[in-house]
Symmetry: C2
DNA sequence: ATAAATCATGTAATCGATTACACGAAAATA
DNA sequence: TATTTTCGTGTAATCGATTACATGATTTAT
């Protein structure tokens, strides 16, 4: 039953104006203490709840922020979202989730929907960087909605980003494999139009060069983030004239597939062949043959994105602060690449 | 720069009323076709975007629905959320995420926040069933906000729920272990004040009785959903006078811990000891020794919850339809409990 | 040709809260 | 005592869109 109670109801009951009620509730200094107390008491007794929609319409701020990710059921993105939610919760923001399913069309739709819904900010991991159609992004910026990229970023003026140092991640992992005595290290790469994959690759390449190991084009295989892709990649690599003795994969799933395929061919890991992945998916440490992987601290990434957003909102000035936060990757060395114990 | 364009701006430009503009945009039949076309064209050229907040205030519907889960970074909940989002997306609803972190206080806060934010519905997995303080839930129902429980439910009149048949899940898993020749089957249970764990336990018990295997109190161990809890449980079980030869765990993580502990004691799985888990976490099938587990079809659960919600909204009548959907669990038999190949 | 029906649009209230401005009363100052 | 501040509230506009009702212009029916 409970009809919605408005400030008008309170005003009527107390024979005063809604304006006074509003002021009392907002701790406006120019209100008599006795009236304030009376209003607060009455509001409580009538179970008054502020209508956030009315407030949002009046103020232009919805207290909602939008998060766009390719999909929510991936450990990485879910953890980022968790970080965002935790950081924003104390500030009264609600988090709205959108998924692109890696579709540019959906990405644009989501951007428009969120802007239409008057969110106070948008945090996202870009789906397709090659998407030249920036109009959806420009629309966001024109409406002065703070936009923050995390993990998968895109170069757009006025947009802050929170990423990890993928180059370093690629470099340190490759260096580790070299240190374990691997001489021919292959690389499974994702779509290199995405900077994250480009940089992991560049880090890999640099580590080879810095350590006097020749870089070979044929050791770099494009592989989607799936178990099957990893298996196929191994099939190709083992067919080469000089097959590699290690794999640095940009994806944990592909790394897993690689391991499965290597084992089915009775190649011993890590003795004959070392494997390392990227993302530190939960399963990498659960395996009997745990998989070496690079942690991207998604929780921290989410928290940091939220913090960058909060800074952005505080600055009511039109000064555009474009902040680029780069987190350090963390290499978790596990059995799949540890020869010292064997 | 782009100032926000309202229907008043369009009206002014065309020398008509905002009312007419509104009607034209809403395909109101009593509008001259020529005016409609003109308005639509002008709106497009001015890049007009409807202000959803104003609409929400007027209509009382925000087109947002709230989802409350213990945490978002678990494969199960993330998948449910994915299902909800996918099903609701075509209907123009946005999904707002809240986390309780298993705290009743946070759960109540979230419920209030969502109601205050005028969401059109709430879907949630209950954190603490023993929480006698129903006031937050009653508040939701009094405000006539459709409430739907998924997975972890609670008996409240007027609340629909989407769950899986946990009893059956427990029963079929236990039956499977029996069929594999296990004679002494232990059970790792979660907090049995939660129906899901209670029912998995009951299914386990019934399967034993139906197959002439005595039920033993000491074989039921309380274990949190963690690897460590699983290890400790095995420690206790193996210390019994008659140690078991199989474990049915309500949690995949505990099952994993159990397996690790068994292996460290050189007990061979599945030859000497069988293990089965619950939830079908991704890692269960990735392990070299893949783990038998019960799939809860979280994606379907999310979709179904969304569908139940949509039905609920359609019925504008005050008739309260309380719908209880129970999905079938699916047993994925894997190496950790398959003796036939050995 | 006149009355009735139909059509397209305008007027103004509404959703609930905030706030600039106005105003009378009380308090402070001269 | 007369005048200026200060204080506490009220009035009314505003945020943007929707919609019941009113109104004037056509069209149709008698």
């Amino acid at each position: 039953m409970s009809e919605k109670v408005t400030i008008y109801d309170i005003a009527e009951k107390l024979n005063i104006t809604a304006a006074t009620v509003s002021r009392a509730l907002n701790n406006n200094p120019k209100i008599k203490e006795s009236t304030r107390d009376l209003v607060l008491k009455t509001a409580a007794s009538m179970n008054y709840k502020q209508n956030k929609l009315a407030l949002a319409l009046k103020s232009g701020r919805s207290n909602n922020i939008g998060v766009i990710v390719p999909r929510v059921d991936s450990n990485f993105f879910a953890s980022v979202i968790r970080g965002i939610e935790e950081e924003l919760y104390p500030h009264g923001y609600q988090v709205i989730i959108c998924q692109t399913h890696e579709s540019t069309k959906r990405e644009n739709e989501n951007l428009h929907t969120l802007v239409d819904a008057q969110v106070d900010g948008i945090m996202m991991s870009v789906t397709d960087v090659s998407n030249e159609n920036d109009s959806a992004f420009r629309n966001v910026l024109e409406k002065n909605v703070p936009l923050i990229f995390f993990d998968r970023s895109k170069h757009i003026e006025g947009v802050s980003s929170v990423t990890i140092n993928d180059f370093k991640g690629g470099y340190m992992t490759t260096k580790h494999l070299i240190d374990e005595g691997c001489k021919c290290i292959a690389h499974l790469s994702g779509d290199q139009s995405l900077e994250i994959f480009k940089n992991r690759f560049l880090g890999y390449k640099q580590a080879l060069l810095d350590n006097g190991i020749p870089f070979r084009e044929e050791y770099v295989i494009y592989a989607k983030s799936s178990v099957d892709a990893g298996k196929k990649a191994v099939d190709i690599l083992l067919g080469l004239e000089t097959p590699p003795d290690a794999i640095f994969s940009s994806s944990d799933f592909a790394a897993l597939g690689a391991i499965q395929e290597l084992r089915s061919r009775n190649i011993s890991i890590p003795k004959e062949f070392c494997v390392a992945g990227f993302s530190n998916e939960p399963f990498t440490k659960f395996m009997e043959l745990s998989i070496t992987s690079v942690d991207q601290s998604p929780l921290e990434m989410g928290r940091m994105s939220a913090r960058v957003f909060l800074e952005q909102v505080d600055k009511t000035d039109t000064i555009k602060i474009e902040k680029k936060v780069v987190l350090a990757p963390e290499l978790h060395i596990r059995k799949s690449s540890t020869r010292t114990n064997f």
